[in-house]
Amino acid sequence: MHETSASHAAHQHTAPTSFIRKHVFSLDHKVIGKQYYGLALLAVFIGMGLSWLMRLHLGWPAWPIPLLDKLSAVGAPSGVMTPEYYLSLMTMHGTIMVFFVLTNAPFAAFGNYFLPIQIGAEDMAFPRFNMMSFWTTFMAFLVMMAAFFVTDGPPISGWTAYAPLSAVGGDAGPGLKVGQTLWAISIAIFCIGSLLGALNFIATTLDLRTKGMSLARMPYCSWAWFVTSVIALLAFAVLLPACILLILDRTAGTSFFIPAGLVLSDKLQPHSGGSPLLWQHLFWFFGHPEVYIAILPSIGIVCHILPVFARKPLLGPRATVGCMIAIGFLSYMVWGHHMFVSGMNPFSATLFSVPTLFITVPATILTLLLLGSVYGAKMRFTSASLFCLGFISVFISGGISGFFLAQPSIDIYLHATYFVVAHFHFVMAVASLFGVFAGTYFWFPKMTGRMMNEALGKLHFWLTFIGVYAIFMPMHYLGLAGNVRRYSAFVDDYLIPLIPVHKFITIAALLTGAAQFIFLFNLIWSRFKGPIASENPWEATSLEWSTATPPPFDNFGGKHMVVYNGPNEYGVESRDGKDFIMQTSPEKAPAS
């Protein structure tokens, strides 16, 4: 008997006291969640700064940008960026945003903080791995940032790092010598961190649910994090091998991706027979699931938050979860829709086009369920609920362009134009970030003990909402007009008339970006000066609202929670006269 209690205590929680153990190398999932959030916040502002630089250049290519020559004397002599440096900044923008923001914030940050609490656990299944996964990710970030400071700057091959450009080395252009190697190493490290994280999420969800927390009673965002972690596990397990092969091609002289007879800068490359398409297949086998890694957690967050402010249950709880699973499953069968113009057999194109259209079915059902859930509701308009509604709007706007791109015959025209840029910024970038914003306004009280300022929050919402439409809507038009993406200046006859549109977009981007400082200010100011939050300020049902604000070290202060209801008991009459029933409340919810 004695032995067991000792070994039990070994993995039981006692709060650490030293600063390093508490705030730096912490095993506490809540601290790790905040660390991920901080990293994503840093990354998103760097990524946004890069987009400002690119947009300034697109609008006014001849203007010198102050201080840019300090960042890279080669890339921007006297402050005007070279076309290659434009590509370097674009590569870093995409990479930082996709990996360090859209993967980290909605999934790793909020998931770490709230998954254990929502299922009634004291911590993640493997706290030590959890700490490692954050610090691995952080190291990946440092390696990626190092690419800014090497002589010829970051790589120019885009976030998709298409081979052979990404595989050959310095002869092909700037950034491809050291910068591209740093990129590949950073992404490989990132994969390891994400795999550790996904493993933890899966084991936690399967094994640490408290009594009564059946799968059917799990909140939607816990479901989304769970499905996402399964997707992430399989996707990053493919990107990692791809990066290893790329690193070998770059450093060890192998020829996985580099074809024979390639002549660059008048030099015959010493490689034979590799397949550039192999990289595209490996990358997009990861890449398409990755876009769902970015969006599913935000879908889950919106499904979680919207009923709280609609004071109505979400329609079709089972269908919602079913759609998430279906999306996760189908996301593995559609990667070829990124390769319609790669010279693939038209039959293969059809083979990828059909499942791509299938995947719009669960996506559409989810959207309709969300819309149906707010239909006729007496919405409580808060910053959080506004961002949820905004999410639905941008997700639809971006999803619709997907239908067009999914047709190979249309995509041949639209591929690699601004139409695609508009599509994925709406449906992935903005939608996922709106989920993060909603989550922030919603959970900030729980995470810090203080409320955020609602007036500033709403101002932030309206400026951002109008701003993203001003930025990305015109890009559809640009794409239809034939404006190719990844050009740094528009000098061809057919592109010159489009320059005013680009100027407009640049101004919108600068203003929308500026509005994000309202958010940053609100975040920092409220952290110290916001009004004190109560245990359950939004009158929500899930477990994170049944514990103190902010939660104690072991989440529930030594109590083992017992769950009696699903998360969806809104718009009911509870015994104490409220319109919701907590998941932990033993009273039986009346059938609604």
Binding site: A198, S214, L234
Partner: protein, 228 residues
Amino acid sequence: MATTTLPPGAEITLDDHGSGKPPERTPRQRQVTMPGSQAQKSETGMWVAVSAIGMSFAAFTSAMIVRQDASTDWQRFQLPHVLYLNTLILLASSVTLELSRQRIAAMPDAARHAAGSAKALLANGIYWLYLTAALGLIFVLGQLLAWRNLAAQGLFLATNPSSSFFYLFTALHAVHLLGGMGGLFYVLRKLVRSGGAGETSGLSAFSIYWHFMDLLWVYLLLLLAMRM
């Protein structure tokens, strides 16, 4: 069944993982704990880890098939014969691992009859574990021999895509195996410290990993034999 003293104010809950059904009594269930026993967590975690590793080797496999068909430069070569001997050694290590687990699993029963016989079982189990580690090490050394054999044929990492994949597969597998041996020593330490608590030492999770490494190697060998 183990019991623990509860901290004041704690509620007693049954570990039924929220299924709503009365808990079944499986050997790895605890009576009074926070949800999810250590052994169960580590086994789940190990299955997940093993699927990720399997997935990445599947990715390498498809890369190899695509690369071989992509052009005409694929050069076949004779696999070093020592690989087959290595395979036997690795398979033997799975057997020794199972022998060890049998000994340790029999301990609680034996302890009821005589404390001494449980001790002997533990010592025996640990002996088999050391043997497992030794066989693993011999396997890795054997793989090094295979590499030397290839180098003697003039085949290096970048010589030909076939040799690239050969080095890649064998090296990655060996790295995973060495990692597993690190895990094995961790398990051994815990076993000795706890006086043979098989449940908390991670032995069963470790054995999932080790057997998987075995299977993975057999698969890789077949793949290489077919393609080289």
